[in-house]
């Protein structure tokens, strides 16, 4: 009984309980190991930060050294002055926000439709969605490109956004989630005379906020970081997204490493900073969408 009460008390105030507990030898070893492994994981990122704060000539000195001898923001300012980087940043933002919004709306509706409603050909369509799980721009890039080309959407925002908006995986995840919601709530609302759309938007959507957040977060990360599709569909430097522009334009005329690292950090840091603040939600989101594949 006492142990149960203790664990309950610890669970109620986890932070205090852990910080007051004494360091056991095994915890010391594990924490040191964790710190060492973390350093290994972070060192490439630190190296990128330090490189971006060196002058171009210092960056390519042999042998290399970690800290800049002359700390300078030259690479950063040069990147903003000469390149299209702000353009790419805005493009990335526009594409990712649009893709996330459309995917959330469309996948939630479809997941609900498949989970709850009856219509002709449902089994067949569900089978098609399952088959669609195996199709990606990496697998069918060339036919997808010629399709988009036929629609006249090469080198347009539409061409970048729309093909990313039909992820069968997200429909499948939400489909499984909606199946788990008890039907009674919706039935009660129907009895009270609410229409189908009203039930969906006022009952189902608020109930599934965590799942929708998970899908939204995952979609945003995937879209922000997507390289292959924007790479195939745009050649216009003004339309490129961050990963695309950095990889193709900044790599093309003699790599300037300090600038390249600054650009990479600018593409990567927004998500990492967001992650620091919304860690719990993002971890839940990634784990949830991943685990739904089971």
């Amino acid at each position: 009984m006492t142990t149960a009460a203790q664990t309950a008390a610890e669970a109620a105030t986890p932070v205090r309980a852990t910080s007051r507990r004494a360091w056991s030898p095994s915890q010391i070893v594990l924490t040191l190991l964790g710190a060492a492994v973390s350093m290994v994981f972070l060192s490439p990122l630190l190296w990128a930060v330090f490189t971006s704060l060196k002058a171009e000539t210092e960056a390519v000195e042999v042998p290399p050294h970690w800290l800049p001898e002359d700390w300078t923001g030259q690479a950063w300012s040069a990147m903003f002055e000469t390149g299209n980087i702000t353009n790419w940043f805005v493009n990335s933002l526009v594409v990712s926000v649009c893709v996330t919004a459309v995917v959330l709306l469309v996948a939630a509706l479809a997941g609900y439709g498949f989970a709850r409603t009856q219509f002709r050909g449902k089994g067949f369509l569900m089978g098609m969605v399952m088959a669609g799980l195996m199709v990606s721009p990496a697998v069918l890039g060339v036919p997808l490109f010629t399709t988009v080309q036929q629609m006249g959407m090469v080198d347009t925002y539409w061409g970048m956004i729309l093909p990313q908006c039909a992820p069968a995986a997200m429909v499948y995840i939400l489909y499984k989630f909606f199946q788990g919601i008890p039907r009674e709530l919706e039935e009660a609302a129907f009895i009270d005379g609410a229409g189908r759309w009203r039930v969906f938007f006022t009952i189902v959507v608020p109930l599934s906020r965590p799942s929708l957040a998970a899908v939204g977060i995952f979609t945003f990360i995937a879209s922000w970081n997507n390289f292959l599709w924007p790479y195939m569909v745009t050649n216009n430097p003004d339309l490129m997204t961050m990963p695309n522009g950095i990889a193709t334009v900044m790599n093309s005329y003699g790599i300037q490493w300090a600038q390249l690292m600054a650009g990479g950090l600018m593409a990567g840091l927004p998500l990492i900073i967001v992650f620091v603040f919304f860690q719990r939600q993002i971890v839940a989101g990634v784990a949830h969408t991943g685990l739904a594949g089971q």
């Binding site: 910080s19 915890q27 594990l30 190991l33 973390s38 994981f41 972070l42 190296w47 990128a48 490189t51 960056a59 290399p64 469309v106 996948a107 479809a110 409603t117 009856q118 002709r120 098609m128 088959a131 669609g132 195996m134 199709v135 990496a138 697998v139 069918l140 060339v142 036919p143 997808l144 490109f145 010629t146 399709t147 729309l162 039909a166 069968a168 429909v171 919706e186 039935e187 129907f190 009895i191 189908r196 969906f200 970081n225 390289f227 990963p243 950095i246 990889a247 790599n251 490493w257 690292m261 990479g264 950090l265 990567g268 992650f275 860690q279 971890v283 784990a287 991943g290 685990l291 594949g293």
Partner: protein, 313 residues
């Protein structure tokens, strides 16, 4: 008293009519859901099903990138693909990459998750450190490692005091891509393992402790069996993703094919055929072959899962 008496008489009848209209109404509510699915299906048809069908059609033609003068060539493209050594090479490179990445990432993700799970302090910090690389775009991770592996100015050789020609020697190039991929993507599988570890009920461990099981026994007899499903999932997702490798390899090799073409992946070869040689028909044929391969892996996993479930029953 009289009112309750009246109510008990009336209530069943009222309840019956209410129940009737309830089932009718809710049945109507759940009918004709086609409109819910329609927007998704429109996008899905345009950008998944149609390209798939179009790919099948194009694979039987000699279409070029502009689509003019297309004529039907039967199975010629497939025949050519089977005899094309570059197809086999590319498949070999993607397969080799998969063979290296999948076991490494699975073991590494498990170990990192065990570590992060068992350290009691600052849990958020370990999660942040191990997961952060996954948030970078693939091209940024690739550029970063290209820079780290750079001969002379690169930190990797400097730290280990060696002069390995990572990016310019056939025997190291794919290894360099693998190392970059491990660092970049292990965070995802790590999170899956971490979530699974947190889902193992604590009472199992407490019971085992009472029975005198030590830490090693608890891991072998509780943790590992409880993680079997998630391991299957991690391996399956990693195989499917690894076979489709493209971004890291091309960026690390400056959009080339690596030393002696040793990092030309399958995806890269299809894109070369389609966009560099303008042979859309041929590119479609090898894409379809690739699609069948990916589908076979996915179906094999579903088949394994079903067999296991039946075995449990």
């Amino acid at each position: 008293m009289t009112t309750t008496g009246a109510e008990t008489v009336i209530r069943p009848a009222r309840a019956r009519t209410a129940a009737l209209s309830a089932t009718v109404r809710s049945r109507q509510g759940f009918q004709h859901g086609g409109w819910f699915v329609a927007p998704f299906l429109a996008l899905f048809t345009l950008f998944v099903i149609w390209p798939l069908l179009r790919g099948v059609y194009l694979s039987f033609t000699d279409a070029n990138i502009s689509g003019d003068g297309t004529s039907f060539v039967g199975l010629d493209n497939y025949r050519e693909a089977v005899g094309d050594p570059l197809v086999w090479d590319a498949l070999g490179h993607s397969g080799y990459f998969t063979l290296l990445v999948v076991p490494c990432i699975t073991v590494l993700a498990f170990l990192l998750a065990m570590l992060a799970h068992h350290i009691e302090r600052a849990k958020w910090l370990w999660r942040l450190c191990f997961f952060a690389p996954f948030l970078l775009p693939s091209t940024v991770a690739a550029n970063l490692w290209q820079w780290l592996f750079n001969p002379g100015t690169g930190m990797v050789n400097h730290v280990f005091g060696v002069e390995t020609p990572w990016l310019t020697d056939k025997s190291y190039a794919m290894l360099a891509v693998v190392i970059c991929t491990l660092w970049w993507t292990v965070g995802f599988s790590f999170l899956l393992y971490l979530a699974a570890l947190q889902g193992i009920p604590a009472h199992l461990y407490e019971a085992a402790k009472l029975d005198g099981a030590n830490a090693w026994h608890r891991m072998v007899h509780i943790t590992l069996p409880m993680l079997r499903n998630i391991t299957g999932l991690v391996i399956a997702l990693q195989i499917l993703a690894s076979l489709q490798v493209f971004d890291q390899a091309v960026v690390m090799m400056d959009f080339g094919t690596g030393p002696e073409e040793s990092t030309r992946t399958f995806v890269q070869y299809t894109l070369e055929q389609g966009f560099t040689s303008y042979r859309v028909g041929y590119a479609s044929a090898i894409s379809i072959i690739f699609f069948v391969l990916i589908a076979a892996v996915a179906l094999a996993r579903m088949w394994l899962l079903r067999n296991r479930e039946e075995g449990v029953r």
